[in-house]
């Protein structure tokens, strides 16, 4: 992984510390995404390291990674808000020199990732569902105790970059019935973030944030088949397993295709909101998979015939079938880390 042409800001100062927020509906895979981060960093061919900034972050990464790689089970759903922070240390290439003396140069890159992992229900504003006192701006200004959702919104609004996880299978499952649809969840959070930014004066025509929209669960047969049938899949020749990836520049189209075939099509409304509220050049789409594709024992390459890495364990639960090979888990963070560090 490299940050391409972005010249890193090597000056380490508190002013330059950036925050990246993780955002997604309940069950969209936020915790799994974080848990896969360590494996993603390890497997990445570029020379990257991740260092926990506090004990909670270290423990989180250790526990979640152990759960997924050794016990082959998915992490439990997040309860409340977890504030986690790591420092990413690696290298990137930069272009130095002037007009006729330009050249690429490898330089160290170091930036912080402050990730907020929150229970999906909080992001949908559902902790107020049974609160009969309607929440108006005036009452909030009167020092009413903040709810967890309020805290979360403030945390998200304070981020420089956001990772939005879109689960293309969520609308096809029964979970939507209890947690609301994607658009309901997204719109609630977006409006609140916009409200805070507007108060802060950081909202001009659009929100100031960079946004990485991550389509999760690329390893699922439905998502994989959709991308495959559209001809969007390719493989990174640097990848020893030759795992399939979505062709750069086609991920947004895949998002639209998956959104158009979902029962509620709320993903399309989310897409419209993204275009309306974020600068176009600050949004990038990624097709990701926290656990990646299954590689049978003895196999050295991805096998199209047998790639499913999630299998049922009982009528209601699933387990991870084999080793995890995260796809595009690190890349959105590196991209955000890079762009917000400029």
């Amino acid at each position: 992984m490299s940050s391409q042409t972005v010249v890193p800001d090597e000056a380490e100062s508190p002013r330059k510390e950036r925050k990246i927020g993780l955002w997604g509906a309940s069950g969209s895979g936020k915790t799994s995404f974080l848990a896969a981060l360590y494996v993603a960093v390890t497997e990445n061919t570029a020379d990257w390291r991740i260092i926990g900034d506090n004990r909670a972050s270290v423990d989180f990464l250790t526990e979640m990674t152990k759960s997924m790689t050794q016990h082959h089970v998915f992490p439990k759903k997040t309860e409340g808000i977890q504030k986690l922070s790591w420092t990413m240390v690696g290298q990137t290439e930069r272009i130095v020199g002037r007009r006729f003396r330009k050249k690429k140069e490898t330089v160290p890159l170091r930036f912080r990732l402050d990730l907020i992992d929150a229970q999906g229900r909080l992001l949908a504003g559902m902790d107020r569902a049974d609160d009969l006192n309607l929440d108006f701006g005036e009452t909030r200004a009167m020092k009413t105790p903040k709810t967890e959702a309020d805290q979360l919104i403030e945390e998200l609004a304070a981020c420089d970059g956001l990772v939005y996880l879109f689960d293309p299978l969520r609308e096809r499952s029964d979970r939507k019935l209890e947690d609301g649809d994607d658009f309901q969840h997204f719109q609630w959070a977006l409006q609140n973030i916009a409200h805070i930014c507007d108060k802060n004066g950081t909202f001009d025509t659009h929100l100031p944030h960079y946004l990485a929209v991550c389509i999760t669960k690329l390893d699922d047969p439905l998502v994989f088949r959709t991308a495959d049938e559209l001809g969007y899949l390719t493989a990174d020749t640097q990848d020893p397993y030759l795992f399939p990836r979505v062709v750069p520049g086609r991920t947004e189209e895949l998002y639209l295709k998956l959104g158009s075939t979902s029962p509620t099509r709320s993903a399309l409304k989310v897409h419209d909101s993204i275009r309306r509220y974020f600068h176009e050049d600050r949004v990038r789409y990624f097709a990701t998979s926290s656990i990646g594709f299954y590689v049978p024992p003895g196999a050295t390459r991805f096998r199209r015939a047998n790639f499913r890495n999630v299998v049922p364990d009982s009528e209601k639960s699933t387990v991870i079938r084999g080793d995890i090979h995260p796809i595009n888990v690190l890349e959105p963070l590196l991209w955000l880390g890079d762009v917000v560090s400029r």
Partner: protein, 596 residues
């Protein structure tokens, strides 16, 4: 009292009186002028006494016709028991003139002459009018074999012909038939017989022989008259103490034994049309026309199936037009499937006796019934076979599945007890576990082809297991085991693959239906194809727990037949697999066996 009174009948003989001064039949004076003199009381007494005497005399004749010895005591005689003179007179009047009677020999000769002079394919009916009713016995000439057959018709009872004759006892009915009309209006009775006799008595053929077995009895004699008017050229005969039907039977039997064979006799055999397997009946020559009694013929036939009612040995002759066979005799014999030598002896014209094989007995089934129940297509007999049972060991309904297979194995063992005739393989499959290090665990257990007893032991050793949440089962692993071994089965043996399960196989690769692929990537389609293409072919039968998992895979596994677990049984399965031929599809005629 007369029952159907239109005019006042004669009080003595019940004949219609009309305006006559005396009865035309019995001479009884019918007017008061016949009783002059004296006072009214004495005239009346005298009349009553005379009437009683006349009635007794009239009824005594009927009683004498029934029995010259015991008739005198019959209680139906009006006026009481006749005295000696009266009875003597009655006996005299009841006697039929000897010159009007035939003897049994004369009647037999008459029938013989008529039979010998009849046209070749004709029929002769002998109608006997007796005390029980009217019986028609028809002799049918089964040409050209020369054999004759006797068809004895039912007795048409007098009481059915004329219900007005109904009496309180059989003896009273006889009394009425013999002329003691007991109040029955004679005119009405004759009219009834004129109507009912032609309707009820069929006389096959032309120019019958009419026999009155109770000469002089008014009612039967009148019935004979009615029949005679219907067949004016009929020969009439009146005989005493002769059972005409029995006489005809004896005569025909005698003639059949001594007559020469006039046409060829053939044995009915079944031929199978190779193109479509349809069964057509043909016949193999047994005896040519003119063959002497005692001639012998040997031929080899094949019994195709085990038959509960035996193999039918039907001998037929052919008519002049050679288009329709006529059954001469139908026998049957219980034989094991296979070739058998048949030895036939011409015991008489149209009478073939099979001296070999042993145990040939007459068959009661009629020809038309046999032809109607002949199966349309020939199902080849079950030869040596191997049954391969793939059984889902999943706990859901495992006991039912195992019981079905076990009962099927037991049924086949009973049906085919010969050693080596059937072999059974049992292949039980569990479920793939998609966990690290467990994916390649063994999932197939069982025993390859062995005796049914060993297969039963293996079945007993199977244990159920919890199938888990995966919707597919490793049928493909079982097929892999089978495909590796099925090639060793000799091509001549029939192979039946029976799959009994609940879940479909894992696909070989990720498929749109969402089932997890087989971890070993076995392809059930290609494995099944490989098994199916063995030399000798494959019969594939499947039993599915329920329609829940019914899909393309099960249609392929049950390509020959697909049953549902709670709607099938071992016999249905065996029949569907072609291991048991249902009785209705078994060929009960012999197949011709080429001469060695």
């Amino acid at each position: 009292m007369p029952r159907y009174e239109t005019t006042v009948p004669c009080p003595v003989c019940f004949s219609p009186a009309g305006a006559l001064a005396t009865c035309a039949e019995c001479g009884w004076p019918l007017t008061a002028a016949a009783w002059p003199g004296g006072d009214a009381e004495s005239r009346e007494r005298h009349f009553a006494k005379e009437l009683e005497r006349a009635q007794r005399g009239y009824d005594s004749v009927a009683a004498a016709r029934i029995s010259p010895t015991d008739g005198r005591d019959l209680p139906f005689i009006r006026g009481g028991r006749p005295d000696e003179a009266e009875w003597t007179a009655a006996l005299r009047r009841a006697t039929v003139a000897a010159d009007t009677l035939d003897t049994a020999d004369r009647l037999r000769e008459t029938i013989r002459r008529r039979l010998e002079t009849r046209p070749e394919a004709g029929r002769l009916s002998v109608v006997e009018v007796g005390s029980r009713g009217i019986t028609t016995t028809t002799v049918v000439s089964a040409e050209p074999s020369g054999m004759r057959r006797v068809d004895r018709g039912p007795v048409v009872r007098w009481i059915d012909l004329a219900p007005m004759l109904a009496a309180e006892s059989p003896d009273e009915l006889l009394f009425r038939l013999a002329g003691g009309f007991g109040g029955v209006d004679r005119a009405a009775l004759w009219a009834e017989l004129e109507r009912t006799v032609p309707e009820s008595v069929a006389i096959p053929g032309a120019d019958p022989i009419l026999v009155c077995a109770v000469p002089g009895w008014p009612v039967p004699e009148h019935g004979l008259e009615v029949l005679a008017r219907r067949a004016p050229d009929a020969v009439r005969s009146r005989v005493v103490d002769v059972d005409a039907a029995e006489l005809v039977g004896e005569l025909v039997s005698q003639m059949n034994t001594t007559a020469a064979l006039r046409g060829r006799l053939e044995l009915v055999v079944a031929h199978v049309v190779p193109k479509n397997g349809r069964i057509v009946l043909r016949s193999e020559r047994l005896f040519e026309a003119g063959a002497p009694v005692g001639a012998e013929q040997a031929l080899t036939i094949r019994c195709a199936h085990t038959l509960d009612d035996g193999l039918v040995l039907a001998v037929v002759s052919w008519g002049h037009d050679n288009t329709r066979p006529r059954p001469v005799s139908i026998d049957s014999v219980r034989l094991r499937p296979g070739a058998h030598r048949l030895h036939a002896v011409l015991a008489g014209p149209g009478r073939v006796k099979f001296s070999e094989p042993a145990g040939v007995v007459p068959d009661s089934r009629v020809w038309s019934e046999l032809v109607a129940s002949l199966p349309r297509r020939f199902i080849p007999p079950v030869g040596d076979f191997d049954l391969i049972c793939a059984l889902d060991l999943g706990a859901d309904r495992f006991d039912d599945r195992r019981a079905l297979v076990s009962e099927l194995v037991e049924l086949l063992r009973t049906e085919y007890p010969e050693r080596g005739r059937s072999r059974v393989a049992v292949v039980g499959y569990r479920a793939h576990r998609f966990r690290v290090g467990e994916e390649h665990d063994r999932v197939v257990y069982g025993r390859w082809l062995d005796t049914p007893d060993e297969a039963q032991r293996s079945l007993d050793g199977f244990r159920a297991f919890e199938p888990g949440p995966v919707r597919a089962a490793p049928i493909e692993d079982a097929l892999h085991v089978i495909a590796r071994r099925v090639g060793r089965i000799p091509p001549g043996r029939k192979v039946v693959l029976l799959t009994v399960g609940a879940r479909p196989p894992h696909p070989p690769a990720e498929e749109p239906d969402g089932e997890i692929p087989c971890p070993l990537e076995y392809d059930w389609r290609s494995l099944l194809r490989r098994i199916r293409h063995r030399p000798g072919g494959l019969t594939s039968v499947a039993v599915l727990d329920s329609a829940k998992h019914y899909n393309f895979a099960w249609r392929q596994l049950g390509k020959t037949a697909l049953h549902q677990l709670n709607l099938t049984d071992p016999r249905k399965l065996a029949t569907a697999a072609g291991l048991l031929i249902p009785p209705s599809q078994r060929l009960f005629f012999p197949l011709p066996e080429p001469a060695e």
